[in-house]
């Protein structure tokens, strides 16, 4: 046979179990931290509601006592314990009464307390460190949570009214607790709804709810130790009075009395002289208006947005871009509130870049052929050589409408087009062309080709430059490439040496030629002058000779003979004395003169 109080308590337990299951299911649908915290919070509520149920049952047995807090009887304590054990032994039947009497209540409560403490700490940790993922189905779940809140509110009202009718402090307390639950459910629901509008307070909501759980856990643990002490000292109040001690501080905010006292205090202080009920109504009305106003303000804030200096924006009205308005330039702008208009912001004024081919390593001090300096992805040149180009494409968005609506991923398109274009161009050129002479032309050609392709796909991108940062042959054969350059230098050196020889030999030869000619000319002058001189001398001699030929002849003859024979050996022979015997001395000193 159950009293109305018991029925109420059981109803609230069943409803709370239902809520808890629903809330844990919602966690899987949304992935919201606030909902996870809220689900655990509901779980703690089940425990408190069970405790309330126990105390209500116990109260109906000791129906003579008006209030459990007045009870100072040791017997009451024992009865309470027996009752608790009875309930527990319905679940765990094989445990002996005495054993259960001493340990079961405290140990189970202790375990639950520790569990809740761990849960709340875990939730704190999540709220602080966990990077929240996207929350899905947020609007629907948010609305459902607001419905939960309404249900909690109805339970609270119901419990309070029954509690007041039946004078059950436990039920009134639980009603207050349910009021607090309403608040946390509203908080979770509200955070989900405004998440849909682009404001994320999921973390904050989770944090607050985790704090609720933390308090519940502390309260359970403190109650256990307090009870134990009371049992020892045999000077106890009902354990029930401890049950809410920690939570009372928070629950004060949800009790009407607190607020009434607050109003009275204000009323006395400022001499407003309002009647209590009037004051109450007014205050509640203002509070409600403020809540509604805040909500409306939040809602209409969604119709203002700002575009930053490097951005442009597009307004989408019911999914359709307002193209006639064109791209929205930086500044503060209005639109219709969510969910009618949406804004897409795009970094259209920033020059962005992508690496094509290979990416150089930032830490490399110099880009040298023989040293690795980044990724190594080989390309093939037209003369069948592997080489490694490092290209950087600078681009920006030139048409944000095309950029947004024509291609799913314009950057990806640019990347692929760039790869294709350079592969195509490189497969027609030799390595040396790519590495040196063709570079400038290459930039112009590639920009033209890639831009053509990008425009064909209406990607809305514009290429600004393509920079060949570096091109190098495979690192382990780079030395042979450098040897070619060294050989080329050797060739130049040899040619230069030969030219040097040429430059020195020719002038010498020319100088000798000039000298020779000059010499011959001087010879000619010499000859002619001599001839002329000798000719004139002869003429003069002849003129003299004509005067007396005989004498001149004799004189000349004798003169010459004189000089000619002066130093010679002379053998003089007289023909009259017969044939002489002449012994010629063929001494070394003399040569026989024929």
């Amino acid at each position: 046979m159950k009293t109305i109080k018991e029925k109420t308590a059981i109803a609230s337990i069943i409803l709370k179990i239902l809520f808890t299951i629903l809330k844990f299911t919602a966690v899987f649908f949304t992935g919201s931290l606030a909902i996870l915290a809220e689900a655990w919070h509901s779980f703690t509520d089940i425990i408190t509601s069970i405790l309330v149920y126990i105390s209500v049952c116990e109260n109906s047995i000791n129906h003579k006592e008006n209030h459990p807090s007045n009870e100072k009887n040791n017997q009451e304590q024992n009865k309470y314990k027996n009752l608790f054990t009875r309930h527990l032994s319905q679940i765990i039947t094989n445990i002996k009464n005495i054993l259960a009497k001493i340990n079961l209540e405290t140990s189970v409560a202790f375990l639950i307390g520790i569990l809740l403490l761990l849960v709340s700490l875990g939730l704190f940790k999540n709220a602080v460190f966990f990077i929240p993922s996207m929350i899905s189905n947020s609007l629907l779940t948010g609305i459902i949570f607001i419905l939960f809140a309404i249900c909690s509110f109805i339970i609270a009202k119901f419990e309070t009214s029954v509690g007041e009718k039946e004078h059950s402090a436990a039920l009134i307390s639980d009603g207050t607790h349910s009021r607090a639950d309403t608040a946390s459910s509203l908080l979770a629901g509200f955070s989900l709804i405004i998440y849909n509008m682009g404001i994320n307070i999921d973390r904050l909501a989770a944090f607050i709810i985790a704090f609720f759980i933390f308090l519940s856990a502390l309260e359970i643990l403190i109650n256990i130790f307090a009870n134990k002490n009371k049992v020892d000292s045999k000077n106890i109040e009902s354990s029930y009075s401890y049950r809410y001690r920690m939570f009372d501080i928070i629950l004060l905010a949800f009790k009407k009395d607190t607020w009434m006292k607050f109003y009275e205090f204000i009323d006395n202080k400022f001499k407003l002289n309002l009647k209590e009920t009037e004051l109450d109504r007014k205050i509640i009305f203002y509070l409600k208006s403020i809540l509604v106003a805040v909500f409306l303000l939040c809602y209409f804030m969604t119709s203002f947005f700002s575009i930053k200096s490097y951005e442009q924006g597009i307004i989408e009205r019911l999914g359709k871009p307002l193209e006639e308005k064109g791209a929205i330039e930086p500044g503060l702008h209005c639109k219709l509130p969510w969910p009618i208009d949406k804004v897409i912001k795009i970094n259209s004024k920033v020059i962005q870049h992508i690496n094509v081919g290979n990416i150089t390593d930032r830490n490399t001090s110099a880009l040298i052929w023989t040293r690795p300096h980044g990724t190594e992805k080989a390309f093939l040149s037209g003369d069948n050589n592997f080489f490694y180009p490092y290209l950087v494409v600078h681009y920006k968005v030139k048409d944000i409408f095309k950029y947004t609506y024509k291609c799913k991923n314009p950057q990806e398109l640019l990347n692929n087009t760039a790869y294709r274009t350079i592969t195509n161009i490189f497969s027609k050129k030799t390595f040396y062309e790519i590495a040196s002479s063709y570079r400038t032309q290459f930039m112009q050609d590639t920009i033209k080709l890639i831009q053509k392709e990008l425009d064909f796909f209406e990607s809305g991108l514009e290429i600004i430059t393509i920079n060949i940062k570096d091109v190098h042959p495979p690192i382990f054969i780079a030395d042979s490439f450098e040897d070619v350059i060294a050989a080329y230098q050797d060739k130049q050196r040899m040619i230069n040496e030969a030219i040097g020889y040429k430059n020195s030999a020719l002038p010498v030869a020319r100088a000798q030629a000039v000298e020779k000619i000059q010499q011959s000319e001087s010879y000619v002058i010499d000859r002619i002058n001599r001839a002329q001189g000798e000719g004139i001398r002869f003429k003069s001699q002849q003129e003299a000779y004509i005067m007396n030929k005989e004498v001149t002849y004799i004189r000349s003859y004798l003169n010459n003979m004189n000089q000619g024979l002066q130093n010679n050996y002379k053998i003089i022979i007289d023909p009259d004395s017969g044939t002489p015997e002449v012994w010629l001395d063929f001494d070394k000193k003399y040569t026989f003169w024929k």
Binding site: L318, T423, F457
Partner: protein, 294 residues
């Protein structure tokens, strides 16, 4: 309680709107299905209504051009050369309903397109040689043609059967298998060494040529100078001889004996032993008595 009722009513209306209204974005097609049966294909962006979630469902398909990169594929060319090619394809949904029925979603579509392109790549490249892919002669390179062929072949199937249009296919990477790559590296090194040797030999050749030319030029200059000097000397000699002849020709007899005497003097000056007869003109007067012999 009345207020509460109004509040619940408003909430219910909001939930109903949430369940029935939906926005189709500019970037997508939407197909509304009723218990799985497609009943409405929406191609224009805007606000639309349907029956609540469990009766009618929306399936959204992206209408923008999408890109996929195929798996790198090793294949044999017409001349049995192995090569590794990586392609990409730009595609978009051409027929949303057909696409929705035959492909279901983008991931499946990408896999299907990948299969198809790699298959067409293999069959198309049989008709080409390595010369058509890598060549310094731009006329011979036929990458563009290969890409166009793959697009045409793929579209024959995809347009009618898959509801997909392949807009373009590009070859984004050409490479050799690793074993071939090693021999390419070796060849590159050999080529470079050859090149270096050629440069050095060319240097020697050019230098030798310059030296020889220089020597030749020097000889030419010197011989020319010799020739010139001989001509000049000859002219001078001729002049001198003329002058001598002029002068001596006036009295040859005198010249003869004068020169003879001078010559004799010169000849007899050194190292000669002279045997003289007392009958000779010179010694005639050695024992001369005037008028006795005559």
């Amino acid at each position: 309680m009345k207020k509460l009722a109004i509040f619940i009513l408003i909430s219910l209306v909001l939930i109903l709107v949430y369940l029935t209204a939906f926005i189709v974005n500019e970037t997508e097609y939407a197909i509304v299905t009723q218990f799985g049966k497609p009943i409405n294909i929406i191609k224009e962006a805007g606000l639309y209504f349907k029956l609540p979630g469990f009766i009618q469902k929306i399936n959204r398909l992206d209408k923008r051009t999408d890109i996929l990169i195929t798996q790198p594929l090793q294949l044999l060319l017409g001349d049995k050369n192995p090569i590794i090619l990586t392609c990409y394809a730009c595609w978009r949904i051409d027929n949303p309903l057909l696409f929705f029925q035959s492909i279901i979603n983008k991931e499946v579509a990408q896999q299907k397109i990948n299969d198809m392109i790699n298959s067409h790549l293999g069959s198309t490249l049989c008709d080409y040689t390595i010369e058509n892919i890598i060549n310094t002669d731009p006329e011979q390179v036929k990458l563009q043609e290969i890409e166009d062929k793959i697009v045409t072949h793929s579209n024959e199937k995809t347009m009618k059967r898959y509801g997909i249009e392949i807009i373009s296919v590009g070859i984004r990477g050409i490479n050799y298998p690793s074993i071939v790559a090693q021999s390419v590296y070796d060849r590159m090194r050999a080529e470079r060494e050859k090149e270096a040797k050629r440069h050095r030999a060319e240097g020697e050749e050019a230098a030798a040529k310059i030296r020889a030319e220089t020597d030749k030029e020097v000889a030419q200059i010197q011989s020319e100078a010799y020739k010139q000097s001989e001509i000049i000397k000859g002219k001078g000699d001729k002049e001198a001889i003329k002058i001598y002849a002029d002068a001596y020709g006036q009295d040859p007899e005198f010249f003869t004996f004068l020169k003879s005497h001078e010559t004799l003097k010169e000849i007899l000056q050194d190292k000669a032993t002279v045997i003289l007869s007392t009958d000779s003109e010179l010694l005639k007067y050695l024992d001369y008595q005037p008028n006795e012999n005559k």
